[in-house]
């Protein structure tokens, strides 16, 4: 599913919510194919950790429809703040094993600061605003608890409005 945002003059954000893994090289290629105006590409990949061997998987639940809409809104805000020439946000759901990918954000610009800032802004806002919830599955076979929201994530988002 692709969401476009009118506020992003020079880029059409690619937003996808999917069960399958993603391929960062393919996403970068799709973004930059045939273009010579992108000088900088910043990407972020979030992966499932095993938390010191405690976890067998993370289960990602999401709110279909709203997840896409919210990521589209966050992308639109990023594109209004920085002169981005491309933006990708892909978030997986379902059962994700340690070492596997959870989320990918790519921001392109002609200069590196905008690319880095766009990608970091997307991640900070996505963490606190995109409707996804993680539950732990333990190596003991039990289903553990829901991951609690971290104050550090709220603080990370707040610094963009300070």
């Amino acid at each position: 599913m692709t969401t476009t945002d009118a506020s992003c003059a020079t880029c059409t954000p690619v937003i996808r919510i999917q069960r399958e893994d993603f391929d960062i090289a393919a996403e970068i290629a799709a973004l930059s194919e045939g273009r010579a105006d992108i000088g900088a590409l910043a990407s972020f990949t979030g992966l499932c950790r095993d938390e010191g061997g405690r976890l067998s998987a993370l289960e990602l639940e999401h709110y279909p429809g709203m997840a896409e809409a919210e990521l589209g809104r966050v992308a639109g805000e990023a594109a209004q703040r920085w002169p981005l020439t491309g933006l990708v946000a892909i978030h997986r759901y379902g059962l994700i094993r340690p070492g596997e990918n959870i989320v990918l954000v790519i921001a392109a610009s002609s200069h590196r600061h905008a690319a880095f800032s766009g990608a970091e802004f997307m991640m900070d806002f996505l963490k606190t605003r995109a409707p996804f919830w993680k539950r732990e599955h333990l190596v003991t076979g039990e289903t553990g608890g829901w991951v609690e929201a971290r104050d550090a994530d709220d603080a990370a988002m707040a610094r963009w409005t300070a």
Binding site: E61, H62, K127
Partner: protein, 85 residues
Amino acid sequence: MSVKIVYFAWVRERIGKTEETLDPPADIVTVADLAGWLADRGEEYAYAFENPQIVRAAIDHEHVKPDTAIAGAREIAFFPPMTGG
């Protein structure tokens, strides 16, 4: 007014439903009113809303605050703080 209500994560688990369509009385004006009205519908709802200030809400796929009016909403969602990314 009949409205679809959807639940996620531990709110969904505590209530034991993913969604339901309800018809709240006319004096239920805001999201907070609706949460309070739901909490009175039984033990499982009371458990889900035991800390009402921690439960987040969205109307038609947009985050809303507790004092937002629910009039005209097609779909109202309740869920815990988000932990994606």
